[in-house]
C-alpha cells in the first residue's frame, strides 16, 4: 500500500514538474505583459513533434537507432526548445503586441487563434496519429527502497528541477531577471529607466514558448505524443499558475507539483475522474482564494 502511494507520488511529481515548467512560462509572460499564451498547449505538442522530427532526421542521416544514443535525445530536446522559442517571437508580434496593455482580453482569442493555425499546419505535416519518442536512457526501471522509477521520470525530475532552480536564481540575481521584475512592477517607470520594455516582453514570450517546447519533449517518452496532447497539459499548467498565484513564480512551480500529485493520487482510485477532480479543486481553491494560494490581491485605490 505504502509502495503504491510512493509510486503514485513519484509519478505525480514527474508530471507535476512538467506542469510547473508550463506554469513558469505562464508566469513569465504574465509578469511582463499581463497576458498569457492560451496556445501554450499547442507549443507543448508541436514541441514534442519537433523533437521527434529532429530525432528522425539525425537517425536517418547517420542510419543509427536513436534509442541507443542518449545524445540524440539531447539534440532533439535542444532543437525543440530553440524551434518553439523562435515561434514565440511571431506569437508575440501577431497575437500579443496589438492587445497588451489594453482593456478586454482580446489576447485570449488571438493566442488561441495562433495555436489553431499552428496546430492545423502541424496536422498537415505530421497527421493526427500518436507517436512514441524513445526514452534516452532506455525503458529500464530503477528501484529505490521498493519504489520503481522509470528512467525518463528521473530525467524529467532532475532536468525540470534544475531549470526551475536556474530560473528562480536568475530572476533574483541577474540583470535580465531584474529587468523582468522591473517591467512587471511598473512598465512605464522601467522604460524611463532605460530598459527596453519591448525586448523584455519579447524575451519573456520566447522563454515561455521554449519552456513549453521542452516540456513537450520531456513528456513525450512517458505518454505517447499526439498533436492533441498539449491542451490538457497546458490547462493544468495554467491551473497550476493560477492557484499558485500568477505573479508569484515559486507559487506557480509549487502549484504544478500539487496538481501533478493530486492527479496521480486520484488516478489510484479512478483514472477517469482525474481531470474532474483536478479542475473541481481549481474552482474550489479560486472561490476561497481569488488570487491563488500565494498571490497577493492588489487593492484598487479609490
Amino acid at each position: 500500500m505504502l509502495i503504491t502511494l510512493l509510486q503514485a507520488l513519484v509519478g505525480g511529481l514527474t508530471i507535476g514538474a512538467i506542469y510547473a515548467l508550463v506554469a513558469l512560462g505562464f508566469s513569465l509572460t504574465y509578469a511582463t505583459t499581463r497576458t498569457l499564451n492560451f496556445a501554450q498547449g499547442d507549443f507543448v505538442s508541436v514541441g514534442a513533434f519537433m523533437g521527434l522530427a529532429a530525432t528522425g532526421l539525425v537517425a536517418s542521416a547517420l542510419s543509427i537507432d536513436p534509442a541507443s544514443y542518449p545524445w540524440v535525445y539531447t539534440l532533439a530536446a535542444l532543437a525543440a526548445t530553440v524551434a518553439m522559442g523562435l515561434i514565440g517571437w511571431p506569437l508575440y508580434l501577431a497575437a500579443i503586441r496589438p492587445f497588451a496593455g489594453k482593456p478586454g482580453m482580446s489576447w485570449v482569442m488571438s493566442t488561441i487563434g495562433f495555436g489553431i493555425v499552428m496546430q492545423s499546419t502541424a496536422l498537415l505535416i505530421w497527421g493526427p496519429g500518436t507517436r512514441m519518442l524513445a526514452a534516452p536512457l532506455g525503458d529500464g526501471v530503477l528501484r529505490l527502497a521498493g519504489v520503481g522509477f522509470r528512467s525518463q521520470e528521473v530525467v524529467v525530475l532532475v532536468l525540470a528541477f534544475l531549470i526551475l532552480g536556474a530560473f528562480d536564481y536568475s530572476m533574483r540575481h541577474t540583470g535580465m531577471g531584474r529587468c523582468m521584475r522591473a517591467v512587471a512592477l511598473n512598465r512605464d517607470a522601467a522604460a524611463l529607466m532605460g530598459i527596453n520594455v519591448t525586448a523584455v516582453m519579447t524575451i519573456s514570450f520566447v522563454a515561455s514558448s521554449a519552456l513549453a517546447g521542452l516540456s513537450g519533449v520531456l513528456i513525450a517518452p512517458i505518454v505517447s505524443a499526439s498533436l492533441f496532447m498539449g491542451l490538457l497539459i497546458a490547462l493544468k499548467g495554467f491551473s497550476a499558475a493560477i492557484i499558485g498565484g500568477l505573479s508569484h513564480p515559486r507559487g506557480c512551480m509549487l502549484g504544478g507539483l500539487i496538481i501533478g500529485v493530486v492527479e496521480s493520487l486520484t488516478g489510484l482510485w479512478s483514472a477517469q475522474w482525474r481531470e474532474i477532480v483536478v479542475f473541481v479543486l481549481v474552482i474550489v481553491v479560486l472561490s476561497i482564494a481569488p488570487n491563488g494560494m500565494f498571490g497577493k490581491g492588489v487593492a484598487e485605490k479609490v
Partner: protein, 587 residues
C-alpha cells in the same frame, strides 16, 4: 396595451426579417439548406445570451459548451429515461441550464481576468469529462439514441418545422433581450464592465447583475443545446468540446461584443463560413484560427462596430424633452431632529497605519461640509467608509438615525449617498446622457424610459451640460468630465453628496463655477461633504469645516474658527520646534 404596441413597433424590422426567413424556409425544399438555417438560428440563440454575458457584462466565459451540454442532456435524459413529453423537456432545458449558470456564476463572481477565464474553462472541461466518462448515465461517446423530438399532429417535426420554430424563438428572444439591453439593465451591465466600483456607487449591485448575465447566457446556450439534441434525436459527448466554447465566444466577439446586432452578424458570418468550408475540414480549422488571430486586431469592435464607424451613417441625435421637467430631488425625510448622517467612533487601520481613529461627525441637510487636512490624513478613506467602498474596523454610521454600517455600497446609494471620485471614474465609452442615466439607476424603477430621459435631461441642464448630452464622455475636456461625474452623482437624487477633491485640475474660472454649482446643490436640500485642498474654495463656500490629521479630527467649526485654530496651523505648517530640528538636520 400602449407598451405592447410600442414594443411591436420597435421590433418591426426583427419581425419582418423573421417572416422573410420563414418564407425562405417554405421556399427551400432541400434539407441541407434548411439545416444551415436551423444551425444559424441555434448559433444566433447562443450568441444572444453570450452577448449579454461577454458583450455587455464583459465576463468572457470560456466554458459555454458545458451549458450547451446541460441543455442537450436535459432533453435527452428527460425524454429517454423519464419519458417526459418532448415539449416539456424542451421547455425545461433552459431552466436547468440557468441553474447550472448560477453554479458557474458563484465562483466566477470573485475572480477577474485570467482567473475568470480559468474558472469558466475548468467548468467546461469538468462537464465535458463527466459526460464522456460517466457512460452509465450519459452514454459517453456512444451517445444517447432515441431522444424524442417535439411533434406536430403526432408526426415528429420535419426539418422545415424545426426551422420555423427556431426562427420564431430567435425573433422573440431578440425582441425581449433588446428591450432590456436598450434600457436600465443594459446600461447597468455596460457600466459594471467599465468600472465596478463606480457602478456599485451608482447603486448597481454588481453581484446581482453579473449573476443575471451568467444565468441568461446559460439559459440561451441550454436552449440551443436542447434544440440540436432533439432535432438530431441523438447526442453524444463529442459535441461538447473546448472548441465549441471558443466558437460561441467568437460568435459574439466577431459580430460585435456589446452591440445589439452583434450576435446576428456573428451568426451570419460564421454559419456561412462553416457552410462553405465544411468540405475541407483542414481549411475550416485554419480559417477559424486566422479569424481568431486577426479579427479582433482588424475589427476591435466586431463587424457591427466596423459598420457603425462608416462615415455614411448619420449619428443618432439625442432629442431632449421640451419643456424640461423640474430637477429631480429626493423627498426630505421627516424631521426627527437627528443629523442626516452621523459617524460614531469610526476607526480604520491599514496594517499599522491608522487612517481613522474614533471619528465622530454629524452632517446636516442643506449644509456644505468640507473635510480638510494634510496628505495622508485619511480624508479619502473616510469618504470610502461613508460610501461603503471599504468597511470600517469599528464604529457606527447612521443615516437619518438608521444604522447603515453593514449596508453595501449600492444599498447606500439607493438610500441617498452619492459620490464623485478623486481620480475620475466615468464610463468613458458611454455618452454623457447614459452616464447620468446610470447615476439614476436606483430612481428609474416605476418610471418609463422617456420619463427617465426627461429627469436625466433636467440634471444635465442643472449642471450646465445640456450641450454635451450626446457626446461620448471620454472625448470631453477634463474640466467638463469632472462636471459629468458630478451630474451622474446628482442623478441618484442624493440626500448626501460626497465630493472627493472636486476642484483638482480645474482652472480658477472653472473652480469658481464649481463653487457656485455646489452652493446651488446645497440649495436643493442636499448635504454636501467635500474633500478639497483649494483653501479659497473651501473657505468661500463651506458652512462647516472638519480638519483631519492622521485619522483624528483635530478641529471643526465654521471657516473663521478653523483659520484661527492653532492646532490646524500646526498640522498644516508645522511648529517652530519642527523648524528648529529641520535646520539642525540640515547643518
Amino acid at each position: 396595451m400602449r407598451s405592447l404596441t410600442s414594443f411591436l413597433r420597435q421590433n418591426v424590422s426583427a419581425f419582418s426579417a423573421g417572416l422573410a426567413l420563414i418564407a425562405l424556409a417554405f421556399h427551400l425544399d432541400n434539407d441541407f439548406y434548411l439545416r444551415i438555417l436551423f444551425m444559424g438560428g441555434v448559433y444566433f440563440l447562443c450568441a444572444t445570451g453570450m452577448n449579454v454575458l461577454a458583450g455587455y457584462a464583459g465576463q468572457k466565459s470560456l466554458g459555454q459548451a458545458g451549458l450547451f451540454a446541460v441543455g442537450a442532456y436535459t432533453v435527452a435524459l428527460l425524454t429517454t429515461r423519464l419519458e417526459v413529453p418532448a415539449a416539456w423537456a424542451l421547455a425545461a432545458s433552459p431552466l436547468i441550464a440557468a441553474l447550472a449558470g448560477v453554479l458557474i456564476a458563484l465562483p466566477s463572481l470573485r475572480v477577474k481576468g485570467p482567473s475568470l477565464a480559468l474558472v469558466t474553462l475548468a467548468f467546461g472541461i469538468v462537464v465535458e469529462k463527466i459526460v464522456t466518462e460517466w457512460t452509465d448515465l450519459f452514454g459517453g461517446a456512444q451517445g444517447i439514441y432515441g431522444i424524442v423530438p417535439i411533434s406536430h399532429a403526432d408526426e415528429p417535426f420535419t426539418m422545415r418545422q424545426w426551422v420555423v420554430l427556431v426562427i420564431v424563438l430567435c425573433v422573440v428572444s431578440y425582441a425581449i433581450i433588446a428591450r432590456f439591453l436598450r434600457g436600465r439593465f443594459g446600461r447597468a451591465l455596460l457600466s459594471l464592465q467599465t468600472d465596478e466600483i463606480a457602478a456599485e456607487c451608482a447603486g448597481i449591485s454588481v453581484y446581482r447583475y453579473k449573476t443575471m448575465a451568467f444565468v441568461i447566457a446559460a439559459a440561451f446556450c441550454g436552449l440551443g443545446g436542447a434544440l440540436v439534441a432533439q432535432q438530431n434525436q441523438y447526442f453524444n459527448s463529442d459535441f461538447i468540446t473546448f472548441q465549441l466554447s471558443i466558437f460561441i465566444l467568437l460568435l459574439v466577439l466577431l459580430g460585435g461584443a456589446g452591440r445589439l446586432h452583434g450576435p446576428l452578424a456573428g451568426a451570419l458570418v460564421l454559419t456561412l463560413t462553416e457552410t462553405y468550408l465544411a468540405r475541407w475540414p483542414f481549411a475550416q480549422h485554419f480559417v477559424y484560427g486566422a479569424l481568431l488571430l486577426f479579427a479582433l486586431y482588424l475589427m476591435p469592435r466586431g463587424i457591427v462596430g466596423l459598420l457603425d464607424s462608416m462615415p455614411l451613417r448619420n449619428r443618432l441625435s439625442l432629442r431632449l424633452p421640451d419643456p424640461l421637467p423640474a430637477m429631480p430631488v429626493r423627498a426630505p425625510e421627516r424631521d426627527t431632529g437627528e443629523p442626516l448622517l452621523a459617524l460614531r467612533g469610526i476607526g480604520k487601520a491599514f496594517g499599522g497605519v491608522v487612517t481613522a481613529s474614533d471619528v465622530r461627525l454629524d452632517m446636516q441637510a442643506r449644509c456644505i461640509h468640507a473635510l480638510i487636512g494634510p496628505n495622508g490624513a485619511g480624508k479619502s478613506t473616510l469618504i470610502n467608509i461613508i460610501t461603503g467602498v471599504i468597511a470600517a474596523d469599528s464604529g457606527r454610521i447612521l443615516l437619518n438615525g438608521r444604522d447603515i454600517t453593514r449596508a453595501s455600497a449600492h444599498e447606500r446609494a439607493r438610500l441617498g449617498i452619492a459620490r464623485t471620485f478623486q481620480n475620475l471614474r466615468l464610463f468613458g465609452d458611454m455618452t454623457v446622457m447614459e452616464n447620468v442615466l446610470v447615476g439614476a439607476h436606483t430612481r428609474i424603477p416605476g418610471r418609463t424610459e422617456s420619463q427617465a430621459l426627461g429627469h436625466a435631461a433636467a440634471v444635465l441642464a442643472f449642471a450646465g451640460l445640456s450641450d454635451h448630452a450626446g457626446t461620448q464622455a471620454r472625448s470631453l475636456p477634463y474640466g467638463v468630465q469632472r462636471r459629468v461625474e458630478l451630474a451622474r452623482a446628482l442623478a441618484g437624487e442624493p440626500a448626501l453628496l460626497l465630493l472627493d477633491e472636486p476642484a483638482a485640475g480645474l482652472n480658477p474660472q472653472e473652480t469658481a463655477e464649481l463653487g457656485r454649482l455646489i452652493r446651488k446643490i446645497g440649495g436643493l436640500g442636499v448635504a454636501v461633504l467635500m474633500v478639497e485642498h483649494d483653501m479659497g474654495l473651501v473657505m468661500g463656500i463651506s458652512d462647516h469645516i472638519v480638519v483631519l490629521d492622521r485619522g483624528i479630527v483635530i478641529a471643526d467649526g465654521n471657516p473663521g474658527q478653523i483659520q484661527a485654530d492653532p492646532r490646524v496651523i500646526e498640522a498644516y505648517l508645522g511648529t517652530d520646534e519642527d523648524l528648529g530640528s529641520l535646520e539642525a538636520a540640515a547643518c
